[in-house]
């Protein structure tokens, strides 16, 4: 039934709506990576000696490492000497704006276009945004209001200047500089990102959000985010990202570290929409990201929610180290691969403390010629008495040229542990679409209905302001799909 597959194949026609380029003057380092480049990046940011040394230590370690080949993805070798490791809008670092009022209007316009207005008047109510453009943060909103509660929310560079003791204490404490090839590279050349500190007992009154935008060509983006929730505090943080459409691949190798002290809770949500490349797999972002949180204190909780619709290749495993007794780790993920996108994503739940609990809900959607892999590790250590894990891993296939793969790893060293794993694979069939048609429902609505139904367990974990956005994003990513 050849026409059946043709109908579904029309899925592949989607348009990336965030693919524009902003023409701004930029201070960009020439391509190439050596110790001098690392020193230059550190110098541009007036970093203290210890941080420069930490970067150099990372760089030297990185030179001895090999790029991982175990992920279930294929790509041409990356030439790390052809990438520029620093690009900042504005001619010179010294001219950097002091406040949002001084920011180049072109940059503000860019964020308007992306639906993340930074001006005072149009800001998103209830959400404080840190806007990162290529290698630097261009501004952070609602800073004063947050300061009233003692909350620190600023760019990483500012944090290094203003709160060096906190940065020094926690940087690399969850993802050590030796951790893995991409995290180590990031440790050497990271440029900016967000820093959050929530003081003891404070419930952050706003959603905190960072919007990452890659703009310049030939550059990589290496940001670093560090969130520390002190005892009994609570914060919800959201990250969004887009990039221009280009024929070349661009590398995005970020590191995110979360630290939750006793009774603290961090909810970290990502709506990842990097340029996915075209139908033939030309261009798109390589999203090689290390995200990890530690539940350091008793009864703390870290929850990762991710909606991954973009990137040519996604390689990330937001993980939780459950050290505190009674701590809770959660991972809710929707990963969509359309076109020729490839995703190898999942999580690691490392149970160390007693009565620690973790939940993993992973929803993979493959359309077009996309390849989607779930890779997850549940590790129950010797002392983790009473640990529990529940994993549910579902794959949805649209059309018959895509693939779904599952690589679950379970290591249990304590006999009292209870570990559950459920997995399903299903396919949106021509018969389902026809059935909806025969009930008056149009094909596109039928597909959206089925996909949203498949994802709802994850969508409902997103902060309310973004749940709708995520759903709309899914619809757009599959738009024009079926005739």
């Amino acid at each position: 039934m050849s026409t059946d597959t043709e109908t579904i194949d029309r899925f592949v026609d989607q348009e990336y709506k965030w693919g524009f380029y902003t023409d701004v003057e930029a201070d960009t380092l020439p391509p190439g990576l050596d110790e001098e480049v690392v020193r230059q990046i550190s110098g541009k940011k007036d970093e203290p000696e210890w941080l420069t040394e930490w970067r150099l230590k990372s760089f030297r370690h990185w030179q001895k490492m090999k790029e991982p080949r175990w992920p279930h993805v294929q790509y041409e070798p990356i030439d790390y000497q052809s990438i520029s490791y620093y690009s900042a809008p504005g001619a010179k670092d010294k001219d950097r704006p002091k406040s949002l009022d001084e920011v180049d209007p072109k940059l503000l316009e860019t964020y308007d276009k992306l639906g993340v207005p930074l001006h005072e008047r149009e800001r998103l109510a209830g959400v404080a945004v840190d806007a990162v453009f290529d290698s630097v943060s261009v501004g952070t909103t609602h800073k004063e209001e947050l300061a009233k509660h003692g909350i620190i929310f600023c760019s990483f560079s500012e944090a290094v200047q203003d709160h060096p003791e906190l940065v020094r204490k926690y940087l690399g404490s969850v993802v050590p500089y030796t951790d893995n090839f991409f995290a180590t590279l990031n440790s050497a050349v990271f440029t900016d990102g967000s820093f959050v500190y929530i003081p003891k007992g404070v419930r952050c009154p706003l959603e905190l959000s960072t919007y990452f935008r890659i703009n310049a060509a030939g550059t990589g983006q290496f940001e670093r985010t560090l969130i520390v929730a002190d005892e009994g505090s609570h914060v919800s943080y959201l990250e969004g990202c887009t990039a221009p459409m280009r024929d070349e691949n661009q590398l995005h190798a970020a590191v995110v570290e979360l630290v939750a002290l006793g009774d603290a809770e961090i909810k970290y949500s990502t709506v990842q929409n990097w340029y996915p490349g075209d139908k033939e797999g030309r261009g798109g972002i390589y999203n090689f990201v290390t995200k990890r949180g530690i539940c350091k204190g008793a009864n703390s909780k870290i929850s990762w929610t991710q909606v991954e619709t973009g990137s040519a290749i996604t390689w990330k495993y937001p993980s939780v180290i459950l050290r505190g007794d009674g701590s809770v780790g959660e991972f809710y993920s929707v990963a969509l691969t359309n076109l020729k996108q490839q995703a190898d994503t999942g999580t690691k739940m490392i149970h160390i403390g007693r009565n620690t609990r973790s939940t993993i809900i992973s929803k993979g959607i493959s359309a077009g010629r996309g390849q989607n892999s779930y890779r997850g590790l549940v590790q129950i250590n010797k002392n983790a008495t009473g640990a529990r894990n529940y994993t549910q891993c579902d794959s949805l296939l649209i059309g018959n040229r895509c693939g779904a793969h599952t690589f679950p790893y379970i290591e249990v060293k304590n006999p009292t542990a209870i570990v559950e794993h459920e997995a399903t694979t299903s396919k949106i069939g021509e018969d389902q679409i026809f059935y909806c048609n025969a009930r008056g429902i149009e094909t596109q609505d039928a597909v959206n209905m089925i996909v949203n139904g498949f994802c709802k367990e994850v969508f409902r974990e997103l902060p309310m302001e973004f749940a709708m956005e995520a759903q709309a994003l899914m619809d757009v990513s599959l738009e024009g799909s079926v005739g």
Binding site: M1, S2, T3, D4, T7, S426, G429, E430, D431, Q432, F434, Y435, C436, N437, A438, R439, G440, I441, E442, T443, D445, M449, I450, G453, F454, K456
Partner: protein
Amino acid sequence: MLEIKNLQAGVNGKAILKGINLSIQPGETHAIMGPNGSGKSTLAQVLAGRESYEIFGGSVTYNGQDLLDLAPEVRVREGFFLAFQYPVEISGVNTTYFLRAAVNAVRAHRGEEELSAVDFLKLMREKIQLLELDESLFKRSVNEGFSGGEKKRAEILQMALLEPTMAVLDETDSGLDIDALKIVANGLNHLKRANNAQLIITHYQRLLNYVVPDHVHVLHDGRIVKSGGKELALELEEKGYDWVTNGELQTA
């Protein structure tokens, strides 16, 4: 209401329907009977607009429109309904949500206002009683975890909600026990009006004990080889399909 003229259709270039002629007037109930492989389900799917079937020739006129020219979703909005032989399961999509989307799609087409969730629930409860279904089914995903009989009854419930003028029932009786068969028949009779029509496609005669057809047609090898009144169904039951397919064909 429905005028099928010399309809030829099939799959992958191979003809299954080899010239069907059938005329259905408002208020009529027709039954098409035939052995396995005679083209019964193909006819149902072609009429509903399944893309995987090719049309080689002929025409289908529905209320003055070229039915074959309409997209499947437009056909149902125009009042042409197919109850599926094998209702499809749609995981993750709540049945009530799905039915409301269907009803509102049809209403929007007719220029009627969308039903609110509250009004829709009221309407649905009323129809649920008619088909004697368990309300908890409608909290599940579409057709998921429904028994075979529940699926078939749910199809008639959808028909009751969408109020078609021309309904085609593709082997709705297969797999039903006698109680469920009576409920389905009762539903069909209840939905029958002077201005609508039903086309019942079936292998067996037993549903026709409860839903009495005005005309019965025998389909064999892609053609209607015999037509008659309700007594033809009984005759077929008694003598078997060989009677019409092998023997000398007589026109009734």
